[in-house]
Amino acid sequence: MARIIIVDDEEHIRTLYTLELEEDGHEVLSLGTGKEIIRHIDEFNPDVVILDIKMMDVSGLDVLQEVRNKFYDMPVILCSAYGSYKCDLKSVAADYYVVKSSDLTELKKKIKAALAAKIPAKD
């Protein structure tokens, strides 16, 4: 099972995701802001990060650039209530883009895919 960081400024979303993902056996760190994401990644050493885009204090797309620059191969899934951010070039740096839903089937599918997508070491 995986270690997952969830970044979302809506508490009920964090609670829902945490409960469901823990039920599936994952270890979850839930954060209300992406401001100190680098420190949290360093400390928690996650296998995947799930990132909201439209947050009160910081843009998830900017957090994504920060994560990608520091942790080149860290799997990141953008999870937003809005599909329109998919058109933003900054979202290209994410592994996957999922539109928020109370049904977590799609998100869980993408978590599985992100975990399976490790680039192999060369010969």
Binding site: Q65, Y72, L89, K122
Partner: protein, 404 residues
């Protein structure tokens, strides 16, 4: 000893950053990218030793003179292949050698026919190389019908095989580290196709294979150069790009077989102001349709031999479609390319003949792409290309089965 013609009037012996401008008879255009490179280097790489290198194919139209007479505050070097030796890749090979000799840390390459380059292109292609990245590819807005070899072959195939999403793997404008230049210089996969137009896909593939950190530089302005109607004659470029792709696929089998899904690549360089829309590219759809059907007459036997029976049967269905209903599905296109890569590995015929037989199929797929995206805005067409890439990734088990 290197067999080149070298002019180094400023006696440059070492550099931190090199901007390379490959050319062949570009006297009319080379002054502008040279000037922009100079402005980029002086504005954004202050305090660094910089040099601009024109890597030429002994042009006869005065390219060298135009390069040296451009407005430029940075030292310049002219290097050329000897008489009788052409090829973009050969120009790059001279550049790799020069970069190693100058012990440069970073290299930026831009095309000599660029009309839309700005000094910030040099910044965005070069700066990541001083921040742990080894290879930088461009991201610029291109018209949906510009770059159809990229959209329908180079991007989906390289992403599916090597697992890294690099949107413009043969963009022509790149950044790479001095370390990677040495790796290129010494790599044993160099061949005749790489010495010509295979160079771009070869460099990108080797960067992915060697697991260098790759980023994509957002360049803000569209690439304005000599864009061509995708229905016009392909020339040697198609054969050299696709041939190199297939050749490396054979060489790097143990790597790509382990890649399950693709990973993203970061984008570097936002905040360039309002982005400009690229100029439209017109397409002769009738010519695409005829090129496919004329190709059938020439290559039907080879197609039957190279393609798996099921792929061939579906292709024959497509061949029967009238122009107004024409469609070449993404999954079939993926299977066709995968089958052709197996045929290349098995050497069922010589490379030139096999590539000639693939080109009509590419015209067919391009026609389908044009038809499917004609009512789409650029962003929608981009999503269509992403979906095609996902289809290639989903079809990879088919390739693994065929490859054996």
């Amino acid at each position: 000893m290197t067999d080149w013609i070298l002019e180094n009037p400023d006696n440059v012996t070492e550099a931190d950053i090199v901007v390379g401008i490959p050319s062949r008879n570009e006297a009319d255009t080379i002054a502008f990218p040279t000037q922009m490179a100079s402005e980029g280097l002086t504005s954004y790489f202050k305090g660094m030793k910089a040099v601009i290198v024109n890597c030429d194919n002994l042009s006869t139209d005065g390219t060298k003179e135009a390069f040296f007479s451009a407005t430029c505050e940075v030292p310049r070097i002219y290097v050329s292949t000897p008489e009788g030796v052409a090829g973009k890749g050969n120009n790059f090979r001279n550049l790799f050698q020069l970069v190693c000799d100058l012990k440069a840390k970073a290299v930026v390459v831009v095309d000599a026919d660029l009309k839309s380059i700005t000094p910030k292109w040099i910044k965005n292609l070069g700066e990541p190389l001083f921040n742990d990245y080894g290879y930088v590819t461009p991201i610029y807005l291109r018209h949906k019908y510009d770059g159809t070899i990229t959209n329908n072959i180079a991007y989906p195939m390289s992403r599916c095989l090597y697992g890294r999403r690099v949107r413009q793997p043969i963009g022509g404008d790149f950044g790479f580290s001095g370390e990677l230049a040495r790796f290129y210089l010494e790599h044993e996969t160099w061949d005749e196709a790489v010495a010509y137009f295979g160079i771009d896909i070869w460099m990108t593939t080797l960067a992915m294979y060697s697991r260098k950190q790759i980023t994509q530089a957002f360049l803000g302005r569209p690439k304005i150069h000599r864009a061509k109607d995708p229905a016009s004659s392909l020339g040697p470029m198609f054969k050299e790009v696709v041939g190199t792709l297939f050749n490396l696929q054979s060489k790097f089998e143990s790597f790509w077989k382990e890649v399950k899904m693709s990973r993203p690549t970061a984008i570097f360089g936002f905040g360039l102001g309002e982005t400009e829309m690229p100029p439209a590219v017109s397409v002769d759809v009738d010519a695409l349709y005829h090129n496919l059907h004329n190709g059938y007459q020439d290559w039907k036997d080879l197609w039957r031999e190279a393609l798996a029976p099921e792929t061939h049967s579906k292709l024959m269905e497509v061949m029967e479609l009238a122009p107004e209903h024409f469609e070449f599905p993404s999954q079939l296109w993926a299977h066709v390319l995968f089958d052709m890569s197996v045929a290349y590995r098995d050497r069922i015929t010589d490379t030139n003949t096999l590539m000639n037989s693939v080109s009509p199929l590419y015209f067919g797929r391009t026609l389908s792409f044009v038809r499917s995206t004609e009512g789409m805005a650029m962003q929608q067409a981009e999503e269509y290309i992403e979906e095609q890439c996902q289809t290639f990734e989903d079809a990879k088990p088919y390739l693994l089965e065929r490859w054996g």
